[in-house]
Each structure stands twice: as structure tokens, then as C-alpha cells.
């Protein structure tokens, strides 16, 4: 199976320049449903699911490979090459912002511009660095994930899946906008929240836009400012939006910020 199929890749638009949208932890390419269409008139938009999420090929999931964000970055490189992407735009949300950083350092020719939506190079506080979480909190998260399945009850989800009495629940789960295999989600959480990619910010040659929201419990404002400071020549935009997903809660503002950034190059 090719990388394109494996990642449930969806292309649209007619532009010469490719614009690759990568979703973060918790969702799939649906994350971009309010944003990507706005760029189809000028760009070739590429939407894909990380392995383990959405419509990807679950059988390709390799716990060892995906124990590090490098595994996801390698996928981005492979997929982009398969799609013939060069000098493109990479738009990464949340943890995929750092996946884009790693990918562009592996293959600088792929992307000229990176849009980092609510990025975080490290979630755990470290000395003067503010990541937003104490180590104890992240350990609590991981312990909790080991003993519970978040969200849909672990015991009930499989029952609901095949439950003829409640088709509305089964439908929600099987056609969810945010599909992720629970076991993969657990591992992805571990990979994400234990990552430390601060040093990888150094030596990025592509132009970078950092989009930051207020009241983001996942990536606080200090983190966005840290990324901005450590990416030479980067721009920082603080959106008038709350939460971790401006691409959903404030799609217009997000589009505007990206367009302004892209126009400026």
C-alpha cells in the first residue's frame, strides 16, 4: 500500500504549490474542514490522517516507530515526496506543528513555509521553561490512560459498536469526526506529551508562522512565545480565540492569519 493510500490522503485545488495540512492528537483530517477549502483556489491542498487516526491503515501502526515524533515526521516526508511536493506550505496543528519542524529538517526542499497552529516543543515545565504541565500532571494523564479509556467507556465502546438497540451511538462512533483507535490514542498521547523538541527549533530554514490562542490549556501563550523566540525570522500571531483549536472555533481568523503570512513571502 502506498503512503498516499495508507494516510487516507485527500487532495483538492488547482494551485501549483502544495499546501499540506496535518492534524494533531485527538482528531483526523476533519480538523481542517473549515480552513482548507479556503485555499483550494490557489493551492493544491493535501489532507491526510496520521497512521492510527481517521481513515488511515491501522495495520501500518508500528508502536516502535510511532514512539517518537520522528516516526510521524518520516511519514510526512514520505507522503510529500510521493505527492511530488517541493517548496510547499506545511500547516500543522498542535503536535503536528513539531512534526512539520522535524520533517522540514529531514527534507528542507519540501516546504518553504510552515504554519504552526498552537505548537508546543515540550509540554512539561522544565526549570525556567513553561510548558503548561507539571511532570506529575503528565504522569497522572498517562496513568489514567493506562487504567481507563477516556471518553467512550472502554467496556461499553465495543458493545455500542455492535449494539443494534442504539444505532445512533454506533453511528456516532463509526462515523465520528474524530476517529482514533483507543490503543493508538494512548500511545500517541505518550509520544506527544513526553516529547521534547526544543532543540529541533534551531536551524529551521523555512519561514514560520506561529498561531497562538488565548486560554489554551494544551499550549499556553508562553509556549507560543518561546517557539517564536527560538525560530529565527518567525512571525507570531495571537488570535482572538480561546482554546486549542482555532481551526474550528475561529476558522475565519485562522484563515486570515495564514493568508496574511503567505502573502508576505
Amino acid at each position: 500500500m502506498s503512503a498516499i493510500e495508507r494516510h487516507n490522503t485527500k487532495q483538492a485545488g488547482t494551485g501549483k504549490t502544495a499546501m499540506v495540512f496535518a492534524h494533531g492528537f485527538g482528531c483526523d483530517q476533519n480538523m481542517w474542514r473549515c480552513v482548507a477549502p479556503s485555499f483550494e483556489d490557489r493551492y493544491r491542498t493535501v489532507l491526510f490522517d496520521h497512521v492510527g487516526a481517521g481513515g488511515s491503515d491501522l495495520s501500518a501502526y508500528d508502536p516502535t516507530k510511532y514512539a517518537s515524533l520522528h516516526g510521524y515526521a518520516d511519514d510526512v516526508v514520505e507522503l510529500s515526496r510521493a505527492l511530488g511536493v517541493t517548496g510547499g506550505v506545511f500547516v500543522g496543528h498542535s503536535v503536528s506543528a513539531m512534526v512539520g519542524i522535524l520533517a522540514t529538517k529531514k527534507a528542507p526542499e519540501l516546504f518553504d513555509a510552515l504554519v504552526l497552529v498552537c505548537p508546543s516543543p515540550r509540554y512539561i515545565d522544565d526549570a525556567d521553561y513553561v510548558g503548561g504541565f507539571s511532570r506529575v500532571q503528565i504522569e497522572e494523564l498517562l496513568d489514567f490512560l493506562d487504567s481507563n479509556h477516556m471518553g467512550w467507556s472502554q467496556a461499553m465502546a465495543p458493545t455500542i459498536m455492535g449494539n443494534a438497540d442504539r444505532p445512533e451511538l454506533g453511528g456516532e462512533l463509526t462515523n465520528s469526526f474524530c476517529r482514533m483507535n483507543p490503543d493508538v490514542a494512548k500511545r500517541f498521547a505518550r509520544t506527544t506529551f513526553l516529547a521534547d523538541n526544543r532543540d529541533d527549533l534551531q536551524g529551521v530554514t523555512a519561514r514560520c508562522l506561529v498561531i497562538q490562542c488565548s486560554e489554551d490549556v494544551i499550549a499556553p501563550q508562553e509556549v507560543g512565545e518561546y517557539v517564536h523566540r527560538n525560530l529565527p525570522g518567525s512571525e507570531l500571531v495571537l488570535l482572538d480565540a480561546t482554546g486549542h483549536c482555532p481551526n474550528l472555533s475561529a476558522p475565519e481568523a485562522t484563515i486570515a492569519a495564514i493568508e496574511a503570512f503567505l502573502r508576505g513571502r
Partner: protein, 669 residues
């Protein structure tokens, strides 16, 4: 139909308000920015926060850290994209820090221009459901493990069965014990190879055969009884029996067995060597005991022989010197030593309980008084001997010389227990044992005489007291004691219908009591006081037949008889004796040994003679107690017993009294 009035509308509003506030689920409304604008009382109660505290906060602020992250990364996006989410399992963190498992539904409410008016959040308490889920998960995990184990077992079952079978087969083949499966009647169905190794038989010689065929004939009854028992309960205490080897010899096996499902399963351990070792050990213990005994006897006899032979030599010396007045002393010494030697053999026989007792009604006060001086001389001047007699003392039925021996023995023991001096007390008393006292002494109820000897010596610890009546048990070095003293007294007391009891404490001395049965009757005058000088002489030429295979004894008895004026006829065996008895010769008394050559013993010969001479007086003279031949002490009338060695005056007076008695009887109508 009722009209709706302002009044009823107000009631409806109250009703709805009540429903909202007190519904069995939490309600919250959130603004498009996620902040709560309204909450009901139920949620307030569940969380421990007042409505005022909750309004203005984000819903995710109520979640634990994992919930916050998941809400933000999963459910908030879902709500945005889908407009609702249902039954999301989350944990609320209450004001007090505890958590409440909940299920959360959320739905976006939009206005006509599709703008978000508010988000309705409904929260269900899921404590019970989470617990069921937990139990369900546990059950499924257990079931999964069991399934996995079962699959694993299926995969390896054949190998395991093969391995186990091989192991059991190996156990069967390699066992050092005889293993056998047999039918309930003892027919062998299956035997292990050890049978061939230990007994030489091949399988085909054993299978189908019964254990009876090769079990030692002497063990067969017990073996068959054991086999019968196995059918009802397992044989756990090993049954020992001999089984024939192919070479004809027998080997000992200790068998254990069980009966199950129509078959006997038995295993037999070869204990032949153990048995031989145990026999050898018993033999060596016996030899050791004999050594102890013979050593002690040799010591005692040598002492006595020294007294006798020394006296005889001194008598010879004095006679050669013509000092006849001194001879009397040495005669007394030699006689004393001879008596003690006789007493020693009696003690031996008492130990074996084969002495010939001659119980008589006896005044024990007088007997002890008569011994007092001799005992005092024996124990020496360092140890005063006190006698505490009893007035109104009952007569006892006892063999007086044996009682004297026992008393002397106890006093010597007392002396030996007091190497640095002390005191011996001899106490005689009537004892009427009621049921309680009898039980305490382990004796039958009744009236007894007690003769107790108490010393003030070293005493004995309980473990020694427990063994003092055992034959050969002695605390003295080899050669100084036979270890038979107390055991002989025990045998004597038992044979006399009495008992011996000992009380001892280390450092406080010991008391040994002999209990003797009361005799209800008069006490005879002791005939041993008769003196040689007044020996009765025959006046009518009575004839006595003397039968003894020992010529010296025959000669001695004949001499005594002739001194007394009787006519003596001698015979050396029972055949010769019977010949005389069946003739017409006058015989007033038969004096015969019990053990005789010539086809009959003395008793049989006497009985044969009494066919033709029913009133024949018989005096048995015996070296040891052929009690069985003498009817265990119950002799027919006109018969009496005298044990060798005997004082001549005793023999003489006994002969005289028997002949006189016979004549008196004959004179009676």
C-alpha cells in the same frame, strides 16, 4: 377543559424551574466561548460548588487533567464539527478533590441565523455504571486469560500428556519398591520390574498368580486378613510379611496399599536387611544383658565361694591343729554363705518367676524382728536400722525366706544409696485399701500388709524410678550388681498376690513398699527352729524310696534318712523308681527329684505309683521350679515340695512329719 390563567402559568413556571433545578441529572448551559452561564442545583450539589462559583468557569475546568486534555483535543472539536456529543465518560473533580464519574451529553443550540445561542450540557452520575464496567472488564480479562490458558493448554496438551505418561512410566519402572496392581482376591494383574530385580521372578510367572502362592506360610493368615482390610480402608500402617525369592529364600517386605475402582494398588518396601539388623541388635542386647547378669552372679558367687572354701580350709587347719572348738565358727560362716548362695539362686528364679514359692501364714513383725540384727550387721554401724512394728498386725500369706531375702535386698540397696551414712527405717503396717487408694496404687481393693524400707540416701530421679523394676537395670558398675534385685522383689511380690511401689526424690531418699495380701487365719509355728540335736528318730523301720539322678544328692538324702533311722531305697531314674513303686516293697515315703531321666518326670512317676498306692506320701525335691509339673503349687494331698539346696534339719523334719502324718491319717477311721 380548564382555562389557562395567569395563576396557572405561574404554577407551570415554578414546576419547570423545580424540574430544572432538581432533575436527577446535572444541567449546565455554556456560552459560545465555553463559559458556563447557568447550572442547576443538582450539579451544584454533585460538585460541591455553588451556582455562583460555577457560572463564568469553563466546563473543562471541572475535569481532571486527563479529562481536560481529552476534552480539548477530542470532544470540543467533535462538538464543533458535529454539533453534539453523547455519553462521553469523564471524571468531575469536586470541590473537596474527590472525583465523580459522569457521562456527559452536549448539544449546540443555534438561533435562526445559525449562530450559537448556547451549549446545553447534561451530566449523568455514572458511579454505578463505571463500577459495573470495571467489574465487567475484570471478568473479561479473567475470561481472556482463561481462554489464552486454554488455548495454550490445547497446544501443549498432547506433549504434556506424553510427558506425564513418560514420567509415570518412569516412576513405575524406577521405583525401588515392589509395585503391584492386583484384583480383590489377590491375583496379580500388573507388576513393576523391581519384582524381577528383588525376587528373581519374571512377569509371566507372577501375572495371574495369587500372592498366596509365594507368601511365607507363617505369614499367610495375617496377610490374608490385611488383604481383606484393604478392600474397606487403605493400608497405611505397613504390613510386614515374607515373600519367596526364586531361589527359595524369603525376603521381608513392608506393604502399604489402597483399593480403588476394583483394583488393589500396593507397594512393598524391602525390609529384609532392616529385620536382620533389628534381630542382630536384639541379640546383642540380650548378650549384653546376659553379660550383666553373669558378671553380677559370678561376683556374688565368688564372694560366697570364698566364704565357703575359706571356711573349709580353716576348718581343716584347725582340726589338724586339734583346735576343735574353733571349727564351730567356720561351720557357721560356711553355712551362712551357703544359705546366701541358695537365696541368690532363689532370687534368680524369682526374677524368672519360676521359683517354687511355699506361701505360709506369716507373722511379719516376728520375721522382721528376727532379721533385725543380721540386717544391722550387714549394713554396718554407720547406718542405724529402726524397725517400726505394728500391734494387732494381720498375718500375711507369704513365703517367709523369700520375704527375708527381699527385705535384706532392700536394706542393702538403702545402704548403697547412703555412701556417707544415714538411717534405714523398716515399717510394718496393716493397709486397708479402699477403691480410691487401690486405684492410686494400681492394685485390687482389699486388706494388705505393708513392709516399707526407707533410706535417707541420694534418692533417684523420675527417669531412674521408672526403670528400677526392669530386669538388668542397675545403677551399679558391672560386676557389682546383677540389676535383678528390685525386679526379683517385684516378681516375688506379684507372685504372692501383692505389689511393690517405690517413692523417691533426688536428695531426699527412697521408700520401697512391699504389699502382701492379708491371711485370715492363724500363724503356724516356724518348723525351721527345730534343731539337729532333737531330730526325731524312726522307731518302726519305715522305708523311704529316694529317686534322684544326681548321686551326691541321693547319697546325702540316704545318709540323712539313715541317721534318722529310716530304711532307704535308691533309684537313679524314673523307670527304676517306678519299678520299685510297683513292687510289694514297703514304702512309707517317696522322696524324688522332679526332673528325671527314664521317660517320666518325678510327678508322672508319683502319679503312676499312686494308682496302686493311693496314699503314698511324696516329697518332691527340686533344684528349680518345675511348677507346671507340680500343678503350679496346688499339690494333691500327701504331696509336698522342698527346694534344693535345703538345710538338713528342714529335710529331716519334713520327712518325719510326712511319715507321722501318714500314720496318723491311717489311724483315723
Amino acid at each position: 377543559m380548564e382555562k389557562v390563567t395567569p395563576n396557572t402559568r405561574a404554577q407551570d413556571t415554578d414546576d419547570l424551574e423545580d424540574l430544572f433545578e432538581n432533575a436527577p441529572c446535572g444541567y449546565a448551559s455554556a456560552l459560545p466561548n465555553g463559559r458556563l452561564s447557568k447550572v442547576n442545583r443538582t450539579l451544584s450539589i454533585w460538585t460541591g460548588y455553588s451556582a455562583e462559583q460555577l457560572v463564568g468557569r469553563r466546563f473543562l475546568d471541572l475535569l481532571n487533567i486527563a479529562g481536560k486534555i481529552y476534552y480539548e483535543t477530542h470532544f470540543a472539536p467533535l462538538l464543533r464539527m458535529q454539533g453534539f456529543f453523547n455519553e462521553v465518560a469523564l471524571d468531575l473533580v469536586r470541590a473537596d478533590g474527590t472525583t465523580l464519574p459522569v457521562l456527559v451529553n452536549a448539544v449546540v443550540r443555534r438561533d435562526d441565523s445559525d449562530d450559537i445561542r448556547f451549549i446545553r450540557i447534561t451530566i449523568f452520575n455514572a458511579s454505578d455504571r463505571r463500577r459495573y464496567e470495571h467489574d465487567l472488564l475484570e471478568a473479561r480479562r479473567t475470561a481472556d486469560q482463561a481462554t489464552a490458558a486454554l488455548q495454550d493448554l490445547n497446544l501443549t496438551l498432547e506433549a504434556q500428556v506424553a510427558k506425564r505418561t513418560a514420567q509415570r512410566d518412569r516412576a513405575w519402572r524406577l521405583s525401588q519398591e515392589l509395585l503391584v496392581v492386583a484384583l480383590p482376591d489377590g491375583i496379580f494383574e500388573s507388576v513393576n520390574p523391581t519384582w524381577n530385580e528383588l525376587l528373581g521372578w519374571r512377569d509371566e510367572e507372577l501375572l495371574g498368580a495369587s500372592f498366596v502362592e509365594r507368601t511365607h506360610p507363617d505369614d499367610l493368615d495375617a496377610a490374608q486378613a490385611a488383604l481383606t482390610d484393604i478392600l474397606t480402608r487403605p493400608l497405611t500402617v505397613p504390613h510386614e510379611s515374607r515373600f519367596r525369592h526364586m531361589d527359595g529364600s524369603y525376603r521381608w517386605f513392608a506393604w502399604t496399599a489402597s483399593f480403588e475402582d476394583g483394583r488393589i494398588y500396593a507397594s512393598g518396601r524391602d525390609i529384609t536387611v532392616e529385620r536382620e539388623q533389628a534381630d542382630a541388635l536384639r541379640q546383642s542386647q540380650k548378650m549384653e544383658a546376659v553379660g550383666q547378669l553373669t558378671g553380677g552372679l559370678a561376683h556374688d558367687f565368688n564372694n560366697l565361694l570364698a566364704g565357703i572354701s575359706g571356711s573349709l580350709e580353716m576348718m581343716q587347719n584347725r582340726m589338724q591343729q586339734g583346735r576343735f572348738q574353733d571349727v564351730e565358727r567356720y561351720v557357721a560362716v560356711a553355712q551362712g554363705a551357703s544359705k546366701r548362695a541358695a537365696a541368690l539362686t532363689h532370687r534368680l528364679l524369682a526374677f524368672s518367676r519360676r521359683q517354687t514359692l511355699d506361701p505360709k501364714p506369716t507373722d511379719v513383725n516376728r520375721l522382721v524382728a528376727g532379721m533385725h540384727e543380721m540386717i544391722q550387721l550387714t549394713v554396718g554401724p554407720g547406718i542405724p536400722v529402726d524397725v517400726v512394728g505394728a500391734s494387732g498386725l494381720w498375718p500375711a500369706l507369704v513365703d517367709p525366706p523369700q520375704l527375708e531375702n527381699a527385705l535384706l535386698n532392700l536394706c542393702i540397696n538403702g545402704r548403697d544409696a547412703m555412701p556417707s551414712g544415714g538411717r534405714i527405717t523398716i515399717e510394718i503396717a496393716n493397709r486397708w485399701l479402699d477403691a480410691r487408694a487401690a486405684r492410686k496404687l494400681d492394685m485390687p481393693e482389699g486388706q494388705y500388709l505393708s513392709l516399707c524400707v526407707t533410706d535417707t540416701g541420694t534418692g533417684m530421679p523420675p527417669e531412674v524410678v521408672a526403670r528400677v523394676f526392669e530386669p538388668f537395670f542397675t545403677t551399679k558398675p558391672i560386676g557389682e550388681g546383677t540389676g535383678l534385685g528390685l525386679s526379683m522383689i517385684y516378681g516375688f511380690a506379684q507372685q504372692s498376690g501383692g505389689q511393690v511401689r517405690i517413692h523417691s526424690k533426688v536428695g531426699l531418699g527412697s521408700t520401697v513398699c512391699i504389699y502382701l495380701p492379708r491371711h485370715s487365719g492363724e500363724v503356724d509355728v516356724d518348723d525351721r527352729t527345730a534343731k539337729l540335736a532333737v531330730l526325731p528318730r524312726s522307731v518302726q523301720g519305715e522305708t523311704v524310696l529316694v529317686v534322684d539322678d544326681e548321686p551326691s544328692v541321693r547319697m546325702l538324702v540316704t545318709d540323712i534318712l539313715e541317721d534318722l533311722g529310716y530304711t532307704a531305697i535308691e533309684a537313679g531314674d524314673s523307670a527304676a523308681g517306678l519299678k520299685v513303686l510297683q513292687s510289694n516293697v514297703r514304702i512309707d515315703l517317696l522322696v524324688t527329684d522332679v526332673g528325671l531321666p527314664g521317660g517320666m518326670n518325678g510327678r508322672q512317676m508319683a502319679d503312676a505309683a499312686r494308682v496302686s498306692r493311693p496314699d503314698l506320701q511324696v516329697l518332691f525335691v527340686t533344684g528349680y521350679a518345675e511348677n507346671a509339673f507340680l500343678g503350679n503349687g496346688h499339690l494333691a494331698s500327701g504331696m509336698a515340695v522342698l527346694t534344693k539346696p535345703f538345710p538338713i534339719e528342714t529335710m529331716a523334719s519334713r520327712i518325719r512329719s510326712m511319715i507321722e502324718g501318714s500314720k496318723a491319717k491311717a489311724r483315723r477311721p
